[in-house]
């Protein structure tokens, strides 16, 4: 028998206030019933969007700006509209909130937790969001703004807890017992670790393991599109790679070129040149140890893999594989990507694995991509979006309908 009670376990609350409190008091939230997509909750998220986009410090962080845009009223209205359609399509169903949601937010991808939380909040749930211990300046700022908004919004303050604690299974277990739905963002290790903690027999769970994402580009389309298009594409690729130091699950680590080998040199020269110019234009400067991190990865890889690499690139290091068969889907991050080539788009399906997530693409038709999705999707790929949209969060993530997860459907049928 354990003598520890939830009263002895301490967590550090980050919002609505900054203090240390017991798990028990963190779990103490109002029990008022809420309605999915209530006008009030939509309004709250819209306000949060304005606060984020008006904040000078947060506006300097591209990832947070994207979040601010995603939360803006027009987008929330779109989600609400989709929910109304869902209601209309299922006249026998009353949608109610899943209830109490325990979110474990991903590590270094600062703002990702807000998407998960916002959808759940919108659906009318009470939420506990566990953040990782080391918060970046951006995250601290964001939580500060959220706390301030909570001061004027009792419903927001009373139904949501953003907190952190060092890895402690007893605390995670207490939150898991409380939850009616658990969302684990955080990669294979975290998922395996937390999945051992029992949920209520009535609760449900969604887990997001480690993912691998890549790009596919048609060589012919790329060369035909010309220099301006290459610059635009580089801007999109830049966002996909550098916003979260290439550590978001949807950031590409591999560029699979589709077409004949003769034009690869020209193509890669143009691609690297355009990316270097984009880096220059934005004055981007990565973390001080990113370069050595990339080098360590590439030199180790080059010991056994036939490749070429050019060390003279700034802020990124591109590796070119001589043979796609030598591809290892390992993640380095911090501006490292691998180029490889196949003859046909459908060859990409052969590489599909369960952990594959997003393919960002350029130069293919909808029909071609749908055919690839048909073949590769069964092996694991979830998402095909144009280059530049890798990090655009969507309510369908990793192939799952998050809004569906955050709601319960109560069937009401009359004769």
């Amino acid at each position: 028998m354990s003598t520890t009670t939830d009263n002895d376990l301490l967590v550090r609350l980050l919002a609505p206030a900054l203090n240390v409190q017991s798990v028990e008091s963190a779990l103490h939230m109002n029990e008022l019933p809420a309605e999915p997509f209530s006008a009030r909750r939509c309004r709250t998220l819209g306000q949060l969007s304005r606060i984020i986009l008006q904040d000078a410090e947060l506006r300097a962080d591209a990832g947070t700006v994207a979040l601010g845009y995603w939360l803006r009223r027009a987008n929330i209205d779109r989600l609400t509209e989709a929910f109304r359609r869902r209601q209309e399509g299922e006249p026998d169903v009353v949608f109610v909130p899943a209830g109490r949601v325990f979110h474990v937010a991903p590590g270094n991808v600062d703002t990702m937790f807000v998407y998960s939380w916002a959808l759940s909040y919108l659906c009318g749930n009470r939420n506990i969001v566990r953040l990782s211990g080391e918060q970046s300046q951006v995250l601290v700022r964001l939580l500060g703004l959220l706390s301030r908004q909570m001061q004027d919004d009792a419903e927001l303050a009373e139904g949501n807890r953003f907190l952190t604690y060092e890895h402690n299974q007893s605390i995670s277990a207490a939150f898991s017992r409380w939850a009616t739905h658990r969302v684990l963002w955080g990669g294979d290790e975290t998922v395996s670790l937390l999945r051992t903690l029992p949920l209520s027999p009535h609760a449900s769970e969604r887990a997001f393991g480690s993912k691998f994402s890549y790009s596919v580009i048609s060589i012919r389309a790329y060369l035909e599109a010309g220099i301006d298009a290459a610059s635009k594409l580089a801007a999109g690729f830049f966002n996909d790679v550098f916003w979260f130091d290439q550590m978001a699950c949807s950031s590409p680590h591999l560029v699979m070129w589709v077409g004949s080998p003769e034009q690869m040199d020209t193509t890669l020269d143009r691609f690297h040149h355009a990316l270097a110019k984009e880096i220059e234009r934005r004055g981007y400067r990565g973390g001080s140890s990113n370069a050595i991190h990339r080098l360590n990865f590439v030199f180790d890889l080059a010991c056994e893999t036939d490749l070429t690499a050019d060390l003279n690139q700034k802020e990124f290091l591109a590796v070119r594989l001589s043979d796609t068969a030598a591809l290892r889907k390992e993640i380095c991050g911090g501006g490292l990507f691998t180029h490889s080539r196949v003859d046909h788009l459908l060859d990409v399906a052969e590489l599909g694995e369960e952990r594959d997530q997003t393919i960002t693409h350029f130069g293919f038709s909808r029909t071609e991509l749908r055919e690839l999705a048909q073949r590769a999707g069964a092996r694991g790929l979830d998402r095909f979006v144009p280059i530049g949209e890798a990090l655009s969060f969507e309510a369908i993530w990793d192939g799952y309908d998050l809004i569906g997860d955050f709601l319960r459907r109560v069937t009401v049928r009359v004769k």
Binding site: G187, M247, S288, S289, L295, G333
Partner: protein, 369 residues
């Protein structure tokens, strides 16, 4: 004679005798030789040059800055060897915290001998030819229990031949054996000893221990050699200068010499010169590179340190990129009577902390107490 005129010239000269330009010319020639030597003998090294440095053309370089290199961490993940396994007489391993991978450096008789010859020359320059009594600021168990900390043991074993009548000044519980030390000093009489220890241990178990005991020793004439980095002293806000001052105050040791070296390049160590900078001998040199672009930087600019050594023949460790940050402070300074360039270490590059959708909890941490 080694079969290499460049190496012969270096081995025939005293460690700080060649002006920087002249030294660079000889060292560049030797580095070209070693690059070709390892290219021909180590498959993995050849792969690196072929795949990352453009193949055989990487063997032709006019300046040391253009010599191929690789990150020193590669010794942790790969077996890099340019001799037959049967020729290996000794495998050195780096310290590394528990659970971390360690570097493995394979020495044959020839390389081991080159290393000890240069080490002797550098030591003698600072300590004199006479072997003096030697006090280790550690406990004697450290060289018996090889598992505990191989770097500490290796440091002491490497130092043993340069002294005599070794004395270990710490007890097994790391407390300072003051009575034993005083007795030893009395016994060796006129000959003032050489003290050797790791920087943080010298601080914690000698300087602070004496201060706590309110004891002052007068070890004038003694020399303290220490190494191992300042990182553990950073939280205590102890810099090089305070370290020296407090040592004088508490032990009367005026000659304090720090040195910088690594298991991947034993022999070509960098000793602190009279200006308190680390000085490159003719057997080695450093290049400072931009942490981001890796372009070589001029003196006075800080960046990543690349170390070049003329010695490694049994493993391709003659040109390595470290994760240490430093800057060149000057060279060929007539005021100190030593040729060659000298530099300062400013710290170690913070580890890339690239956690993504993975590693929410990193690894299990102990419960907060």
């Amino acid at each position: 004679m080694t079969g290499s005129p460049a190496l012969d010239k270096l081995m025939a000269s005293s460690p700080y005798s060649l002006p920087q330009r002249e030294k660079r010319a000889v060292l560049t020639e030797r580095t070209r030789e070693l690059t070709r030597h390892h290219y021909e003998r180590c498959d993995l090294y050849r792969n690196l040059l072929d795949r990352i440095f453009g193949g055989p053309k990487a063997l032709q370089f006019d300046t040391l800055e253009d010599a191929p290199f690789f990150p020193v961490s590669l010794f942790k993940t790969r077996e890099l060897r340019s001799v037959d396994p049967a020729a290996v007489v000794k495998t050195l391993t780096s310290s590394g915290t528990t659970g971390q991978a360690v570097s493995r450096i394979h020495l044959d008789a020839g390389t081991a001998q080159l290393q000890s010859r240069t080490l002797v020359k550098i030591m003698q320059h600072f300590l004199g030819v006479q072997r003096r009594p030697m006090v280790f600021l550690d406990h004697p168990g450290v060289i018996r229990d090889r598992r505990s900390s191989s770097a500490r043991a290796a440091g002491i074993l490497g130092m043993l031949p340069f002294g005599r009548q070794p004395f270990y000044a710490l007890r097994d519980d790391m407390s300072l054996d003051v009575d034993g030390l005083l007795e030893y000093i009395r016994k060796v009489g006129e000959q003032s000893p050489i003290f050797f220890g790791f920087t943080y241990m010298v601080w914690q178990y000698f300087v602070e221990a004496l201060e706590k005991l309110n004891l002052q020793l007068s070890l004038a004439g003694a020399i303290l050699l220490h190494s191992g980095g300042w990182k553990k002293l950073e939280p205590l806000k102890v810099g090089q200068e305070e370290f020296r001052h407090r040592l004088i105050a508490v032990a009367g040791i005026e000659s304090v010499i720090n040195f910088y070296g690594m298991v991947e390049q034993v022999g070509s160590v960098y000793f602190e010169n009279p200006l308190h900078f680390l000085h490159a001998s003719i057997y080695s040199d450093i290049i400072v590179r931009d942490t981001n672009t890796l372009k070589p930087l001029p003196p006075g600019r800080q960046g990543l340190i690349q170390v070049i050594s003329a010695l490694p023949e049994s493993y391709p460790g003659h040109s390595l990129l470290t994760e240490d940050i430093g800057m060149v402070e000057g060279s060929d300074n007539p005021a100190i009577g030593m040729h060659g360039q000298y530099f300062r270490i400013l710290g170690r590059l913070a580890k890339a902390d690239l956690r993504g959708c993975s590693d929410t909890f990193q690894k299990p941490l102990p419960m907060p107490s």
